[in-house]
Amino acid sequence: MEEKEIQNELASIRNLMERSSKFISLSGLSGILAGVYALIGAALAYNILYIRTPEISHVPIDNSAPVTGLFYGGSYRMLEWQLIAIAFVVLLASVITGIVLSYRKAKRKGQPIWGKTSRSLAFYMATPLVTGGLLILVFIYRGHYSIVAPASLIFYGLSLVGASNFTFTDVKYLGLCDIILGLVTACLPGYGLLFWAIGFGVLHIIYGSMMYLKYDR
């Protein structure tokens, strides 16, 4: 056997081991865009909370005491719906961007977009995300708004750590950063929106750029 032949053999083995167990088509560019969406969303939320409705700006949104909607009249309920709508649109836009860009990358790499690895990735990511999302909605319904920022960061971080087994290991460190940030947020009520913007906006842009430079090209 020629040396070249053996080396080709070894390279193909390594490639197969990676391709069969990891979804390597995850797009870094979609991470950057998700971060940008999150920052836009945070800016809109900031605008609604502290600029457009200054009369309530003195009320800390991260007050752990349950706030009744009655206290603020109808406008409070509307505010709540606006914030949920922003969060939902940010989430939806990020997910769609992620799927579209990963689909394009998968096509280029010849990896099936809905294969064994991407199914595992989706499952292990969705489990903590859906759990966290429902838990947050329940707490919003019960008036515990302070849980939103830390819980969304922590559950998102957990979902990334879980999913990192099925894609680039870099995702694990992003997840750990988000978990730590979430725990810090829980200790510092009143700064929820700021930490949320750092965790979902800034960290995504940093990690997205790193992944883009490392794997996308």
């Binding site: 053999e9 070894l10 193909s12 083995i13 064994k116």
Partner: protein, 101 residues
């Protein structure tokens, strides 16, 4: 210097077998259709080489049903994993020796 060709596993002489084994090294279980898609091969070819590996007791077959469709998955055995590692070591040594020669 003598090149240790005899250390290379005859069962892995075929490229597809080695590829199947490398997939089963990093995944607990892998199903037939995903393997076929990943290795870009035909039903008959893949099945015959899976049979070969099964005969060597390098892999075990799990047959199950997903609804009405049969879903066959494969898993590597301890013996298979050991053989795979030895085969890789032998390949590595071959390269090293050819470099020193």
């Amino acid at each position: 210097m003598k090149v240790p060709f005899e250390k290379l596993d005859k069962a892995f002489e075929n490229r597809l077998r080695l590829q199947i084994m490398s997939v089963l090294m990093v995944n607990d279980r892998y199903d037939f259709n995903s393997l076929k898609e990943l290795l870009d091969t035909t039903d008959g070819n893949l099945a015959s080489h899976l049979k070969g590996l099964e005969k060597e007791e390098y892999i075990v077959v799990h047959k199950a049903f997903l609804g009405r469709k049969p879903n066959t998955t494969y898993e590597s055995t301890e013996k298979g994993k050991k053989a795979f590692k030895q085969h890789l070591d032998a390949l590595e040594q071959l390269i090293k020796q050819q470099k020193t020669n």
